[in-house]
Symmetry: C2
Subunit: 254 residues, 2 copies
């Protein structure tokens, strides 16, 4: 029987789409991870184009085991609502190289795959098929934001995107504040960058004055910063948030 | 006016206390982070002894800027219940080097500081004192476990340790399962290693058969593994968990 390949979760950098200079790959990824990525011949990616850009950066540190254009890079199918079970068979096809003995890299557009992106379904399919899953260490914007926030890091939740509709969003913000107060739990959220300023305005409009809000912009970028303040102090000294860089928002009820 | 120093959150490896060989530092930390750590002269640490062990590993890759024994390493005061506000003045004293223009490294025993450890209070004090906080990228056992679990990575919560008392623990497990079902949210937990097996038994005793449980042992270690299965399948094919290695447990209601 052939040795099975593994599903290797390869972290990407956090500078996806960022304007200006990006950090050196060795400032954000361990050399061991770069070496491992350079050796992989089969990839499943959230986006093939950005994966090729990532692999060019890898190649500049550790030469790829074979030319970039000969690598097998398959895109993860976009998740379709109501098709969670129907999609499983497509995912099994993506795992075929592992059944033939080859390791497969899973990579997202930024940070750890299968966290805040659609990759978890493939990881689930790998477990179901008896394929070993190995997550390599790398940057996570959510946890870097949490660490830098000074908010409660012993109980926290990531809740993804909030509703776009203004009244639904307001209700959800108040719900998260109530949950945070009850459980003493930091709540982390993300937003599409061009809506960063509107999202911050909604937080300040709906949260109570003594709730603390933290904003982390451009993590791992030279221009990045984290600011944590109460809602009252954010109102007294507003910040202008970039519209082209991902921001992680977090709150902890006072 | 002197330029203020920054509070730099330096990630540690995840092999704290692990038996057997530990990974090469460059397999788990970016070279840029190792360089940054080698340059710091002032440290606040969860544990001074393990910090010195970490700095010896750093020194073997990038020589320290000054001899290890001349570095200023101060331990973070142990958090005392009911003294959250009284403790703040001690924390300000720890930040004195930053006010004098020196960067300070904050480091925990494993992974990112201020996540699942008492460091957040110092980060909060830094924000209050107007000191810039910078989190450097590194491994987080919680997020590596989440990524490797295949459970929902778009909504998840870390809830820390569960009560030790058996009936309180059972009630809390059922509460987390109900929360997971209602919000579709993965719940992550940790336990003191010698209680790993007892904790797993409690999960299997209190959760419903179709709830998925994931166990990640010894992340970044050669002996590490992640297994995700339903409660029914865990019962049919039990695993023996190590008593000397940290485990991250996670659950997602079926």
């Amino acid at each position: 029987m052939t040795r099975r390949g593994e599903l290797i979760l390869v972290p990407n950098t956090l500078d996806f789409g960022a304007p200006g200079p990006v950090p050196d790959l060795q400032d954000v990824l361990p050399l061991g991870v770069i070496r491992r990525a350079a050796a992989l011949q089969h990839w499943v990616a959230e986006n093939a184009k950005t994966t090729r850009a990532f692999l060019k950066r890898v190649d500049a540190v550790v030469p790829l085991s074979q030319p970039l254009q000969t690598l097998d890079i398959v895109e993860l199918p976009r998740p379709q609502k109501g098709l969670r079970h129907g999609a499983a068979s497509n995912l099994e096809a993506l795992l075929a190289p592992a059944l033939q003995g080859h390791d497969i890299g899973l990579i997202s557009e930024a940070g750890l795959p299968a966290v805040a992106d659609p990759g978890a379904a493939l990881v689930q399919a790998a477990h179901a098929a008896g394929i070993t899953v190995l997550a390599l260490p790398g940057p996570s914007s959510l946890l870097l934001a949490l660490a830098a926030s000074g908010l409660n890091g012993q109980s926290f939740a990531f809740v993804g995107y909030l509703p776009v509709d203004a009244s639904e969003r307001g209700a959800r913000i108040r719900e998260l504040e109530a949950l945070s107060r009850r459980a003493g739990q930091t709540q982390l959220m993300i937003e599409t960058p061009y809506r960063n300023a509107a999202f911050m305005a909604a937080l300040l409009a709906h949260l109570q004055g003594n709730t603390r809000v933290s904003v982390s912009c451009g993590l791992t970028l030279r221009s990045g910063f984290t600011r944590t303040d109460t809602v009252d102090r954010w109102k007294a000294r507003p910040a202008s948030l970039p519209a082209d860089v991902p921001v992680v928002f977090s709150l902890l009820a006072g």
